[in-house]
Each structure stands twice: as C-alpha cells, then as structure tokens.
Amino acid sequence: MSLAPHSQEVRHFHPRVRSALDNPQIRSNFRNAMDGLMSKRQNAFNGWDLESLRDLGAAVRLRALSRLPELLEQLEDNCSRQGIRVHWAETGEQACEIIRDICKARDARTVIKGKSMVSEEMELNHFLEAEGIEALESDLGEYIVQLAKETPSHIIMPAIHKNTAEISELMHDRTGTERSHDVAYLTAAARQQLREKFMKADVGISGVNFAVAQTGTLCLVENEGNGRLTTTVPPCHIAVTGIEKVVEHLEDVTPLLALLTRSATGQHVTTYVNMISGPRKADEFDGPEEVHLVLVDSGRSSIYQDQELMDTLRCIRCGACMNHCPVYTRVGGHAYGTTYPGPIGKILMPHLMGLENTQDLPSASTLCGACGEVCPVRIPIPKLLQRLRKESVDGDSLRPSVVRGHGVKRNWKERLAWNGFRWLFRNPRRYRLFGSLLTRFRWFTPSQVGPWTRYRTSPKPAAKTLHQMMNERTRGGAR
C-alpha cells in the first residue's frame, strides 16, 4: 500500500470536495447511511433521559482529564501488576517502532489487527509492511478499505463510502470471491478469509475504547468478534491507544458505554464488550501469553496544556458528530484528507498535523451546531471550531494563539476586509451614512457578488433603512 502522507493530501481540500460533490454514488452512499444512523441513534435513546446521561458522560470524561497525568501512572502501575507491559510513545513513529520491536522480538511475520483509529493515525500498517511484517485488518470495514488500498472514510464505519456492488467487485478482484449482491454471502466469504489469518497470526493488535486506571482494565467494544479473536487467539496482544482514553473507575465505563454504542450505531449494547486485564494465567486455557499496552501521545499533551482546547480530548470516538454533520454528509470522509474526518476531525487534526496542513478545515462548517447537540460527552465543537478560526488568523490580540501553525491563514486582503468592516460598523454615524447611500443608490449595487451569486440571486438594498424609517416616525410625531 502506498498512500501519500497526510500533509500533502489536506492542502487539496477544495478539489476533493468538488470531486466528492460531483460523485452521485458518494452523495447517495453517505446520505443514506447518515440518515439511517441518525434515526437509529434517536430510537436507541428513546425513553432515556439523554441530557442527564450526557451530563454524566461529560463529567466522567472531565474528571478523568483533570487528573490525566496521575491516572496514567495509576493505569501503568495496575496494568504492570497484572502482567501487561506498558510502553509510552511520544510520537506516532515511536509507537510504530515500539510495536515493531515487540514483533521482531517474537519473530513475528504476520499481524492481525482489530479496529484502531490511533493505528490509522500513525500509519502503522505501512510502517510494519516496510519492515517486512504483514498487517491484516480484521474488522470487516477496515478489511474492505485495506483491500481497496484506501483509508477509512468514517471512524466507526470505515467502508461506509462503498455500497454492496462496489464491495462485491472489489472482493472479486482482490480475493477471487464470486460476485454477489448478497451481503450475508460476502460477509461469510470475508469471515472465511479472515478466520484462517487469525489462526496463523503471530501478533494481534487492537485499539482500546476505555482504559480503566483503578483496575488496569482495557475495554474494547466491537460487533464482529474480530476484536475478541485478535486479543485472544494470537500468542501476543498489543493494545494501542491515545493517552486520553483513560478513565478513573470501572463504574465510569457504564455511562460511557451506554452513550457510546447508542450514539455510534444506535445499539443498546455491542455484540462484544471485551474487558482485558492481563495475559493468560497459569491455570487458564486461552488468551495470549503476552499483553502490551502502547500509550501514544502524538500531540495530545500539547492539547492538554490549554484549558479550552482540552475539551477536544473528551472524545470517545462514537462518530455521532459526523453522522449528524450536514457538511460530512455531503462530502464524505475522504474529502477531509485526515485520519479523523467530520467535526471531530476538524477540531482534532489541526493539533496532530498543525494548522498549516489543515488550514481549510476550521472554516468548512456553517457552525450549525448539530455536532455539539449530539456529542455524548458535550464537547463544544462549534466553539472549538471558532477558536481554531481565530488561531488560523491570529485574530485576537488579547489571547495569543498557541496551536501549531497558527496564523497560517493571515493575509492582507482578508485583514483589510475586516478592518474595513470595523471602520464602517464601529461608528454609528458613518454606518447610517453608508445605509442612506446604499439605499439611495440601490439600483447600482452589483448583481454579481462573487461566489454568492454563482448559485443565488443577490438581495437588493431596501428603499429605506429601518434606521431611516424609525427616524422619520419619531420626527413625524408617531408613537
């Protein structure tokens, strides 16, 4: 697999958007899938006091983040005591190297992977393949995406951009599977192909949904059983996760799990909820001999330094924000050119890649607030988008910018425009004069105003401003 590094892709946001919008297949695949996911979520929360549950979810995450350094140490202690070897990686590359070293030490040739977005983030598969280690995705969606040599277009449903016909064609091309539009048939074929790999794999790599500090438990939520196979069949299991996934108590998992599965797929519970607390013990029949936990920072601790931006780290990766996003629904996940697409991608990726490489993302939102409204842990996504817009232009002299690549969108033209806006609107007399000139010469206002009138007519100024109407009323002795 050879994909351009992320940073080169993202700069081309606009052409990607154009090509997604012009692709009727993409448009309908996403629209139909997102409509379905939105209604499933709504049904799943029927009869729940959702707002209180979201309060609880947010509180649990906030509490964990407020004590993050301490909880991570506690997690390390408790995992180590139970025989899980804990590794710390400051960058994605370091994490890849740690995983490679574990594999090499075991002479591992093949790795089977459960779904892990952080492994996508650090491009683990490319790294391992370059080192001669085969890495096979076992989540059905990830498997399809890997066959197609693509990246996930959604964090929960990686292959949501493809329909059954496309998947059938792909599986036929790559694996010789007979063409079929029968989803059950295709799933069974993929399962058969994967099952053999599970039996042979030297190492299983998975993500983590919640890492419980107090008990050293790694929670993994999934539907296909591939997560359980990945973490129990191969002799060595490596769990990899961002440092923000830690929670304090086991009881904290309950509300988060209730929120996660319902927000993500509208399920009351997933088919599998794995709770991993160590390697196989002497008297046990199954499970791996070795369990590793790789804790990846990769920019997260710099997000953590800022009280407001820290809210980004609350995320439990349910994907509800993208399911409800009118922009994501139109352009799909690949247009973003980032590991995490949609609203969460827009607020997270600038930290991981720098604003210089994600400069079109913060503005690609109407700030409609649908994402913030559904976020199970109440991340104020629109507010954070606004913050990143400010950082992009260094627009607040009272609050210095801190995000990597800040100021990337500074340019004299836009600055001039907003200085003009300020000049006009900060002075009421000047503004009223402008209003009366605009209305007097209303027929001279241009009918073409840039991109606005490419798709719409332009509004005409009124014959009189409300200021004028109210002024006349007062002087005319009306009430």
């Binding site: 139109r330 798709y455 409300l466």
Partner: protein
C-alpha cells in the same frame, strides 16, 4: 453542561429593538413588522439610532479584535433595564451566547454579560413573554417553516415558530424532510466553501418545494436570503419571508413586506 433553564421575564413596558444590519439594510419591513407586533402587544419599542451590527461576521471568521471594536460602542446603547429583542436567532445568539466569551476577562465583561442576559429572540419573546394571540385575516396558504440553526440550538426556540403559525387558522404548516438540517448559509461559509453551501441549500430548497410550500417563513433573514435567493436563481417555486413579516401581514390585512 446542560443549557441553563430560560427564565422569561414578566411582560415589560418597554423593550429595546436591535434590528441587525441585514434587516436594517435589506429587509427593514421585517424589522418594522416586528416593532409593530410588539407595539400591538402594548409595549413601547425603543430603537437606539446608534445600533449597527452585532459583530458576528468578524467573530465567526476569527477576527475577534475587529468584532470587539464593533461591539464596544453597542454595549452602551441599552442603558435601561429592559429586554433587548432581536429579529434573528443568529445575531441574538451572538449577543446572548458569544458576547460573554468575547469579552471574558476584559473591562467590558460585566456590560457584555448584562446585555447578553437581556437578549431575546423576537418570536420567542412574542410567544413566551407577550403571550401573543394571533387572529388570522388572510387567505388559505401553505407554508413551511425554517428555524435557523442558531435560533434552534443557541436560542432554543425550535418550537416557537410552529406554535405561532399554529395560531393562524388559514395557514397550513407543511412538514419538510429533515427540518433541523442547516440550509448551508453559515455567513462567510457560503463564500469560503461555495460548493458545499450550494449542495446544502439545493437540498433544503428541494425539501421545501417537495413539501408543497409556496412560502418558507424563516426566523432569520440570512437563511431566507440563502434559500429564496437559490430558489429564484434556479427558478424553483418558492418564496421566502421573515416570520414576523408573515405574522404581521396575516393579522393586519395589509403588508406583504419582506418578501424576497
């Protein structure tokens, strides 16, 4: 955490009216309709001539310095302890939700918070503070409602428009697909990302047309300008009107102002 519960004030003797620049320059009849509706409820409407813009365009583009400089003189315009009523969820949201953020830790913080706490979206104010009763005088008509995202999510008034329209006996409010979805305006978004914006407004317009509406009544002139402007350019059979223009026209027998 959960949004604080809105505590509606008792019906006041006077209110301040903040028209917004879009209403002032392009849709003043909507502003006048709002003022007349308030006056018909027995409220004296104060219109400070010093008002210009809420500052939102600069703020949502990240230019906080410029936004602040525009807002600072406006903070002095409403000295009396009366509610400030705004015929737009979007500008109302800017004043109610974002002024406190914008001025946090500055010498203007108290003034900004005071102003924010007194800011009300006009239809919300008419329904829940004035307890307005509307007598429909018009011919039968089918309309659809578009509540702006800020009216819906920042000001929490999604139920208000339909309830007001529900008081009008001859008005049939038709159901559109995905009523809560954004129309794609988003202020400068429409010019920064024109293609995505077009895809959104096209879908919104088609949903409204498919619902059988002749007119879409909107809480905000921004959305109305977007939807009606798209419909006009693409010759779709749909007009836009600000909800208060529509309410005034239906209950007075004259008007028709504010049509895009």
């Amino acid at each position: 955490m959960t949004d604080p519960i809105k505590l509606y004030p008792a019906k006041p003797e006077k209110v301040y009216f903040f028209a917004t620049c879009l209403v002032d320059l392009f849709y003043p009849d909507a502003g006048m309709a709002g003022i007349q509706l308030l006056e018909r409820e027995g409220i004296e409407v104060l219109f400070p001539q010093g008002q210009t813009c809420c500052g939102q365009p600069a703020f949502s583009s990240g230019f906080n310095d410029q936004a602040r400089d525009v807002v600072i003189p406006q903070l002095e315009l409403f000295p009396g302890d009366y509610p400030i009523v705004v015929p737009a969820g979007s500008c109302g949201g800017m004043m109610r939700k974002h002024y406190p953020e914008l001025f946090a830790g500055t010498p203007w913080q108290d003034k900004a918070e005071n102003l924010a706490a007194r800011t009300w979206e006009l239809t919300d104010f008419l329904l829940n503070v004035c307890h307005i009763r509307l007598e429909d005088q018009g011919e039968p008509v089918k309309v659809a409602m578009h509540t702006s995202c800020s009216a819906r999510r920042e000001m929490g008034v999604a139920e208000v428009g339909p309830r007001l329209l529900g008081q009008l006996g001859q008005v049939e409010l038709v159901e559109q697909a995905r009523p809560a979805e954004c129309c794609g305006f988003g202020g400068t978004f429409a010019v920064r990302h024109p293609e995505i914006s077009e895809a959104m407004v096209a879908d919104k317009t088609e949903a409204l047309v498919a619902a059988g509406a002749e007119t879409v009544v909107a809480t905000d002139c921004g959305c109305m300008m977007n939807i009606a402007g798209y419909a006009e350019k693409n010759r779709r059979p749909l007009k836009g009107q600000h909800i208060v223009s529509f309410l005034w026209e239906r209950t007075c027998g004259h008007g028709g102002e504010g049509k895009a």
